[in-house]
């Protein structure tokens, strides 16, 4: 299963990927994008099975990325992993078509509990 992790922080991308491995998703083929624009181009070039995206990024935010993908007719499963998890942002994410929003800091348990239901 191809998964794209989009975050402008290399350190955070490493933490997300490490936590995904710890959560048991070591069979995923994970690629990385350093901002929303790079993620948009990567998805169009080779659509993954899931995009895990930060919200607040330069060039193109996670929300702009999701909206651009949907506007381009790309219905790739999309979720946020972001430092803000307010009710308002969760509602915004859901309204835009995101599967879920995981707030930082996260644990392997949170990843598993949140992601597993979408894999069945």
């Amino acid at each position: 299963m191809k998964v794209l992790v989009a975050d402008d922080s290399r350190v955070m991308r490493q933490i997300v990927i490490r936590t995904l491995r710890q959560a048991g998703y070591d069979w995923w083929e994970i690629s990385e994008a350093a901002d929303g624009r790079a993620a948009y181009e990567a998805v169009l070039a080779d659509p993954p099975a899931l995009v895990l995206s930060d919200w607040n990024m330069p060039e193109m935010t996670g929300m702009e990325l999701l909206q651009a993908l949907r506007a381009a007719g790309v219905d790739v499963p999309f979720a946020f992993v972001t430092s803000e998890g307010s009710t308002q942002m969760r509602a915004q994410a859901e309204a835009a078509g995101a599967l879920f929003l995981i707030a930082k800091p996260f644990t392997a348990d949170i990843f598993r509990e949140t992601i597993d239901p979408y894999l069945e």
């Binding site: 350190v11 955070m12 800091p105």
Partner: protein, 162 residues
């Protein structure tokens, strides 16, 4: 919006301390128990690094993380899962400290009623300009014997533009 927070309303538990503890347990240490409140006088800092995020808006705020460069290096090693002898580059130090400020800031923002957008993190060796009267809260932490301060500041438009 306002960036006001009444620490007293959190039943004696400092919400910033709770946030910092959770961030370090989940992201940095992989287990709880390595962050506490700093006890006694703080040592004179050597080669400080500052990381901050702002909550935008007409009456915004700033979450500022201050520590020594040597602590930022250890934080970076912990975040990247590197060994004690592994080299750490400047870009990773800036990235790591900025991300810690970003995650703490994002969670602090959730405590504030009706906040504005969070800015991208900034990291510098020079402390960003703040007025002493604008200090809302400061917390001195002890991470594995190393001092680290989290402070919250009231911020007007002018400071945010700088």
């Amino acid at each position: 919006m306002t960036f006001e927070m009444d620490i007293e309303t959190f039943a004696g538990t400092d919400p910033v301390y709770v946030i910092a503890s959770e961030v370090f347990a989940a992201m940095v240490d992989g287990e709880p128990g390595h962050v506490g409140l700093w006890e006694g006088p703080e040592p004179v800092p050597v080669e400080e690094l500052h990381a901050w995020v702002d909550v935008a808006g007409p009456m915004g705020g700033r979450v500022l993380l201050t520590t020594e460069r040597s602590t930022a290096v250890e934080l970076t090693r912990a975040l990247l899962g590197l060994g004690a002898d592994d080299a750490v580059g400047d870009a990773d130090i800036v990235d790591a400290l900025g991300e810690v400020a970003n995650v703490v800031g994002g969670n602090v923002k959730a405590l504030v009623p009706d906040p504005g957008a969070l800015t991208l993190p900034e990291v510098a060796g020079t402390r960003p300009e703040t007025h002493p009267d604008d200090l809302i809260h400061a917390l001195s932490l002890d991470w594995r014997g190393r001092p680290l301060t989290v402070s919250l500041w009231r911020l007007g438009q002018e400071e945010m533009i700088r």
